[in-house]
């Protein structure tokens, strides 16, 4: 191994924007033509970005506690939302391996606001009722819908939106595969004003038992989070390179030409190398979600 030389600290200063303009120009010219230093520079930038995002996800808005009241804290030991999110990630991934983010993480990335879901927000509705998903295709469609609801419920819990929490937990309780821990969802619906930590712990408990097909469930969560990000003009959400993988998954789930067309429209609204087409992206995502969950 070589010893670190002056370049390492100069590269660090460049990454922090601390290098003077004329020196910066020289360094960039050298980097553009170099292999090793370029890789170190670009690689470190990527690592720092990933760690920043990780920290940001680990610091969700603080939520007020109800203190003592009608609700008794559950027996689940929860030291804070930071730990909880980490645990949720482990549980989610541990049950069904995947690199995709949990609904909670997606919700936070797409919609970090502490103000609750947008007032005009329309929660997805399944076109064929809440029961009776018997075929494989129906189960997948229902899983897409449930994934979307998990994102909305996560936001409702985080932002202390009691009415939405009750409504969404009730709808999920009625919709998820029977393998789910229905008691946990039922308790959320019954006690929507409980401390956010406790509700999140219950949601974790519920998700750990979800038997819905994992791929469609994750896709539904991503589509709903993407719809929220589009509503908020949140370009960062779409800048992580994961959209393409999800759209490929959506393409694989499309059962008819209209659904395939909806995938193409979303893809067109997310052109590579330029800003999302905000004028249509939210509507296109809504259409795709409806096609895949109906």
């Amino acid at each position: 191994m070589k010893e670190p030389n002056e370049d390492d600290e100069r590269l660090a200063a460049l990454l922090e924007g601390r290098v003077q303009a004329n020196q910066r120009e020289d360094m960039l010219a050298r980097l553009a033509a170099a292999d090793d230093d370029y890789e170190v520079f670009a690689g470190t930038a990527g690592v720092l970005r990933a760690l920043e995002e990780e920290d940001a996800r680990g610091r969700p808005p603080r939520v007020p506690s109800m203190g003592r009241g009608g609700w008794r804290r559950t027996t689940i030991a929860v030291t804070g939302t930071v730990v909880l999110l980490l645990v949720l990630g482990v549980v989610w991934k541990g049950r069904a391996p995947s690199l995709t983010r949990t609904p909670q993480q997606l919700a936070l990335a797409a919609y970090p606001s502490a103000q609750g879901l947008p007032p005009e927000w329309r929660v997805p509705t399944p076109s064929n009722g809440v029961r009776g998903a018997r075929t494989s295709a129906e189960r997948k469609a229902r899983a897409v819908y449930n994934g979307a609801l998990l994102v909305d419920l996560s936001i409702a819990i985080r932002t202390r939106d009691t009415a939405r929490t009750r409504e969404l937990a009730g709808r999920l309780h009625a919709s998820v595969d029977r393998g789910v821990d229905g008691t946990a969802l039922h308790r959320i619906a019954e006690h929507p004003g409980a401390p956010a930590d406790s509700l999140s712990a219950l949601l974790e408990q519920a998700m750990a038992g979800v038997k819905d097909p994992r791929g469609p469930l994750e896709l539904g969560a991503w589509l709903e989070a993407a719809r929220l990000a589009a509503n908020q003009r949140n370009a960062d959400f779409f800048a992580d390179g994961g959209s393409e993988g999800m759209l490929r998954r959506a393409k694989g789930l499309a059962r008819d030409e209209r659904a395939a067309q909806a995938v193409r429209r979303v893809r067109d609204a997310l052109p590579a190398g330029s800003a999302p087409r905000w004028d249509r992206l939210e509507n296109d995502l809504a259409t795709l979600l409806a096609r895949l969950s109906g």
Binding site: M1, K2, E3, P4, D8, E9, R10, L11, A12, A13, L15, E16, G17, R18, E25, D26, L28, A29, L31, A32, A33, D36, Y38, E39, V40, F41, A42, G43, T44, A45, G46, V47, L48, R49, L51, P97, S98, L99, T100, R214, E218, A235, A239, D240, G241, G242, S243, E244, G245, R248, K251, G252, V263, R264, R267, P271, A272, G273, S274, A275
Partner: protein
């Protein structure tokens, strides 16, 4: 040196950061589990060597955390190349996102068969995709020569349709030739750009980094970057077409693959 603090104390104070950076750096290059732990242990030893020489050499021109991140990244590249040779995920793999870079590394860098790579990715929690889905994903990646063991095209795609195999091999050879031609023209076109524009082109067009990442790395505003990239794209396209690179070839390199 700049810092009055005991380097050992600085090391201990930053140990958590060093571990996180080491893990993230490994993951970024498709290295997980015991191998990533081995590297983290080696970087800790390296930082302690010669009475914390690396930390003592820190002059304070940047934050210590950023300096350490750069050191870890460079040490990783030395460490990994010493073992496996130079490897970088393709632009397409980066653009497609997880698990494409890991899949590409396991198949083309480490020489595992598709089913072996799939099993490793699933058991380590890095994907939930089936072998067939991974096979479809692999077809979207540019073909590369396996590093450690000879792996035939049949092995790479043995769980996919047999009819696709011959086509894949032919397409692979053509694609390699095309890529060499296009990248050669791109390099010459880049020589005409300013330093920052060259970096933008290399990071975004060649390596597939998002504009958010490019803006963050170069400490420039993201919003004007969209227009700038559009201008650069047109400029490069014009220059390359003037060199005889066909428009569709340019699209293959620069544009997202259409469904």
């Amino acid at each position: 040196m700049h810092h009055p603090q005991n380097p050992e104390n600085l090391f201990l104070e930053h140990l958590g950061w060093i571990n996180r950076v080491a893990e993230k750096t490994c993951n970024q290059h498709g290295v997980w589990g015991p191998e990533a732990e081995d590297f983290a242990a080696s970087i800790r030893l390296k930082l302690m060597e010669d009475d914390y020489a690396i930390i003592r050499n820190y002059r304070g021109e940047s934050l210590l955390k950023t300096y350490l991140a750069v050191v870890v990244q460079r040490k990783f590249l030395d460490y990994w190349r010493g073992d496996r040779g130079r490897w970088r995920p393709s632009a397409m793999a980066r653009r497609l996102g997880p698990p494409a870079p890991d899949l590409e590394a396991l198949v083309y860098r480490d020489g595992f068969r598709l089913d072996q790579a799939g099993e490793m990715l699933r058991t380590s929690g890095r994907t939930g995709l089936s072998d067939r889905e991974l096979g479809d994903l692999l077809k979207e990646l540019p073909p590369r020569e396996p590093r450690h063991r000879e792996v035939s095209a049949d092995e790479l795609t043995e769980t996919t349709e047999a009819d696709d195999r011959a086509d894949t091999r032919v397409t692979g050879a053509e694609t390699r030739a095309l890529r060499d031609q296009v990248t050669g023209a791109l390099k010459r076109a880049m020589d005409r750009l300013g330093a920052e524009d060259q970096m933008i082109v290399r990071m975004h067009f060649v390596d597939g980094l998002t504009l958010a990442d490019v803006a963050r790395a170069l400490k420039i505003e993201q919003k004007p970057l969209y227009r700038r990239v559009k201008r650069l794209r047109e400029l490069l396209r014009g220059t390359m077409e003037a060199e005889g690179v066909h428009e569709e070839d340019v699209h293959d390199l620069m544009d997202r693959k259409e469904p």
